[in-house]
């Protein structure tokens, strides 16, 4: 019998040393490709003016400063719509959209997953297919729908479509299929618990990881809402749009623009760091059966 290879005090099967080394090298190179641009943004945002414009450009920063962040906030507070208004708009859209999506999708996911009503297979089939209906395809028709409904120039033009996003429902339903056993629900129903109460008090606490995942998906989409064809009043525009205007100020604002990228990325990345294990747990059941 050949000698077993041991790694981390565990026997590993079918893993050659050469292969491990190759994979390690591959991961380092790919990791550098992914990480260096991110690092460069952070470096740019910390560079003082003379380092931003030195030739040849230097990757790293020698005298880090927070001046760019100060500039960013000065620039933002100079705009004729108060900066706080943009923040409010983004937070409002993100919160309302995420909350509505969570509520509607989890209700629907529960019914589709746990109540054997006729038509649920067809509904879920449609949900699966709709994961491919990107916003590029639906944008034009939605413009017509929203203007017919009189929702133009209203934050709800961004919020209501987010409620019907099928990604959250898909993940939630798949997670419920694999993590809630029917017998628990059955016994609750036998004890005279209504479907709504079963949903709220028994099913929902069992799918906390899926909530978080849904919240984060919805949040990421809405947080990055930029200029939109549905909104034209300046006081209704979003933070991402306002920051985009700073960046559009051109070359003189290279520092402030890097700072704005850093500010905008901190929130979604921070949220992901906190919730990573829950997201991975949800994703374990994300697979599609034919």
């Amino acid at each position: 019998m050949q000698k077993m290879r041991v790694r981390n005090h565990q026997v590993v099967l079918n893993r050659s040393v050469g292969g491990d080394a190759g994979i390690f090298t591959f991961l380092i190179i790919m990791g550098a490709f992914m990480f260096l641009p991110m690092l460069y943004v952070i470096m740019q945002s910390l560079k003082p003016l003379d380092e931003l414009w030195m030739f040849p450009p230097r990757f790293y920063v020698v005298h880090p400063t927070f001046k760019n962040f100060q500039d960013l906030f000065t620039l933002l507070s100079d705009s004729w719509v108060p900066f706080s208004r943009y923040i409010f708009n983004t937070v409002f859209i993100t919160f309302m959209g995420t909350f509505g999506n969570l509520l509607l999708s989890s209700l629907a996911a529960y019914a589709i997953s746990k109540i054997p009503f006729p038509g649920r297979k067809g509904m879920f089939w449609l949900i699966q297919r709709s994961l491919m209906f990107t916003s590029t395809v639906t944008a034009i028709a939605n413009f017509i729908t929203l203007s017919t409904l009189g929702l133009m120039d209203n934050p709800f033009a961004l919020i209501i479509p987010a409620w019907g996003s099928s990604m959250g429902l898909y993940l939630m339903k798949q997670f419920m299929d694999s993590s809630i056993s029917d017998s628990v629900l059955e016994s609750a129903r036998l004890d005279g618990c209504s479907e709504f109460r079963t949903f709220l008090t028994i099913a929902m606490p069992m799918v906390k990881p899926a909530w978080l995942t849904l919240i984060i998906y919805s949040f990421q989409g809405l947080w990055n809402t930029g200029a939109s064809a549905y909104i034209y009043s300046e006081q209704l525009k979003t933070l991402n749009y306002a920051i985009g205007q700073i960046t559009a100020g051109g070359i003189a604002r290279a520092g402030a623009s890097a700072a704005s990228s850093v500010v905008m990325m901190i929130v979604p990345i921070g949220v992901f760091v906190i919730s990573q294990s829950n997201i991975i747990e949800t994703m374990a059941s994300s697979g599609m059966k034919d």
């Binding site: 099967l13 729908t145 409620w163 019907g164 129903r189 990325m265 697979g287």
Partner: protein, 357 residues
């Protein structure tokens, strides 16, 4: 009153038959509905009395089940209302509009001008043909590469310890959620000597005038593909990481006993077949990502890009839909894009069903 009693018996019979109790609320609710509809129901009495599945036709059974689970319809209704209105209906509306020359500016309809929009797309619009070509090249490179890359990275890091795996996951996943950070590629590849890449090349005496990068036909497309790949380790990647952790470890031991010799054989014969559901899901995500990649190109290369070198179907859509407001024509473009995506998905599903055989 007599009627009511009958109904009650009915409901009870249904309960006993299906082996589960309906709560008191619902019973009262269904009673009142039945009471209100009592005169109409008289005719259908035979149907209602029949409670065992074998006594009913398929349609009767379905109707019976629908009534029994009506609470479920209440639960799915709000979501489906919004979902149908903003996700499914637009596809149908686009299909209808694509046969008209509806124009938002004049708001005039000229219904059913037949397939004029489509003939114009494929025979008269050179830019659309170019955009189709660009989109297909773009999707054919970014889609499969990002898919394979997502899987390989997920598979490689699967054997790391959980803590390190979490950090590596973050490094690879972060670009896809970091919003506008991709603009840094514009700074790295800036078109004057202040750009980091140009600066380095000039310093090393490889070039003496700065290269225009994103504004040069020769490089723009390649660079956009690189940026797309950089941002593409998203949902599919997470799904793969999670799926790999659920594969039963004892299968690997069994496989080793059965004569699997190296990690690649193990991947092909054990891991991939176990991962098929995630692979399907990841494919849908990758296809959507590869075909929906327009805004990033606009922000890096400008709109329209130099000599339409990066003009994609999304840009045509944007052009006709949001700038010229020729909604009928834009809808035809949307329909073509949609069909291409469905086609790509069908092909990928066929290919995935061959995995591990």
């Amino acid at each position: 009153m007599e009627n009511r009693n009958e109904n009650l018996q009915d409901v009870e019979a249904v309960e006993i038959q299906s082996g589960e109790a309906v709560n008191a609320d619902e019973q009262i609710h269904s009673d009142s509905i039945l009471e209100a509809e009592a005169p109409k129901k008289k005719a259908k009495k035979v149907k209602k009395k029949a409670t065992a599945r074998k006594d009913m036709t398929r349609a009767q059974w379905t109707w019976h089940e629908i009534k029994r689970n009506k609470i479920a319809y209440v639960m799915v209704a709000p979501f489906f209302l919004v979902f149908l209105l903003f996700t499914v209906f637009p596809v149908g509306l686009s299909l209808v509009l694509s046969f008209t020359n509806f124009n938002m500016l004049e708001f005039k309809w000229d219904m059913f001008i037949e397939i004029k929009n489509y003939t114009r797309l494929f025979f008269e619009d050179d830019i659309f043909i170019l955009a189709c070509k660009n989109t297909l090249v773009f999707a054919a490179v970014t889609g499969p590469v990002s898919y394979v890359l997502s899987f390989l990275v997920a598979w490689f890091i699967n054997e790391l310890s959980p803590r390190i795996r979490a950090i590596v996951t973050l490094i690879f996943y972060a670009p896809s959620i970091a919003g506008s950070v991709y603009l840094i590629w514009g700074t790295l590849f800036h078109n004057d000597s202040q750009g980091w890449v140009n600066g380095m090349l000039i310093k090393m005496n490889i070039i003496d005038t700065p290269i225009l990068w994103f504004y040069d036909e020769k490089y723009a497309m390649t660079l956009c593909i690189v940026v797309a790949l950089w941002m593409s380790l998203g949902t599919a990647f997470l799904s793969f990481i999670a799926g790999l952790q659920t594969v039963d470890k004892s299968l690997f031991e069994a496989a080793a006993v059965d004569g699997i010799k190296n990690r690649w054989q193990e991947l092909w014969y054990v891991t991939l077949p176990m991962m098929r559901p995630q692979l399907m899901f990841g494919a849908v995500m990758s296809i959507t990502g590869a075909f929906g990649f327009g805004g990033v190109v606009t922000n890096l290369c400008g709109f329209p890009s130099v000599n339409y070198s990066c003009h994609t179907i999304m840009h045509c859509l944007e052009d006709y839909g949001n700038q010229r407001w020729e909604v009928g024509y834009a809808s035809a473009i949307a329909v073509v894009l949609f069909l291409i995506m469905i086609g790509a998905n069908t092909i990928v599903n066929k290919m995935l069903s061959k995995v591990g055989q």
